[in-house]
């Protein structure tokens, strides 16, 4: 398998879990030109990111190509406990997807 494309960390402070995630993705808007050939680079970006913990969807992020390359995402939620598994998955506009899991610590 290729290098892991998602780094994810979930930390609990009080009753709030803070999630930080870094994904590896080119996030091409489709409006950028290849400097050598002058042709447009086709759009290739993550469209949807879903985060689940404790069997519930905590956050769904809908993205355009306006999100930076190798996107970073952070959010907070309540209602989970230490040791729960947090699952993050993404789908891009070409239909590719990836996911990663982390234990809340």
């Amino acid at each position: 398998m290729a290098k892991k494309s998602i780094k994810i960390r979930a930390k609990m402070k009080g009753d709030v879990v803070t999630v930080k995630a870094l994904m590896t993705h080119p996030m091409e808007t489709g409006a950028r030109k290849d400097k050598k050939t002058g042709e447009l680079i086709p759009a290739h970006f993550i469209q949807e990111v879903t985060c689940e913990a404790g069997g519930k969807v905590r956050l769904t992020a809908l993205w355009s190509g306006g999100v930076s390359k190798n996107p970073y995402l952070s959010f907070k939620f309540k209602g989970a406990k230490k040791g729960d598994t947090l699952k993050l998955s993404w789908v891009d506009n070409t239909g590719k997807s990836d996911s990663a899991e982390a234990k809340i610590g």
């Binding site: 409006a31 086709p42 469209q47 949807e48 905590r58 769904t60 930076s68 390359k69 970073y72 939620f77």
Partner: protein, 158 residues
Amino acid sequence: METNPERRIFLKGSIALSVLGTAIGTGLLTPRAVLAAWPADAFAAKKVPDAMKALAGSDQMSDSSEIKIKAPDIAENGAVVPVTVSSGIDGIESISIIAVNNPAPLIASFNLGEGAEGFVSTRIKMGKTGDVVAVVKAGGKLYSAKKEVKVTIGGCGG
């Protein structure tokens, strides 16, 4: 050197067309079962009101002091502008991030699930200096706040 205004307009038009072309070519504008939730119309919109209508069904927003946007005053690199939105408004359903002067202003929309706090942080691209607007949907209403970010190098040209 003299600039020809007509040529400017022509260039703008052809860029818009080519964006549309790639959108169709890559299947962005064709409905897909898997990504039924992804609001293609909202993301393709060139103007903020159009984007909000497509995304939330309304462009009626009221300013709120309860939304905080953390973003740099000056972004040296428009390709990576860190933006954090936090809000204490009750019952937040979603948080959207808009860069007013981008070719496609709507950048991201975060639908908060169970237990999620009014807080999201990400990094966005900005083509040029302009306002970053955060739109919070709570109780069926839209609230917004904005912050100007000066961009010294654009992130959309490459």
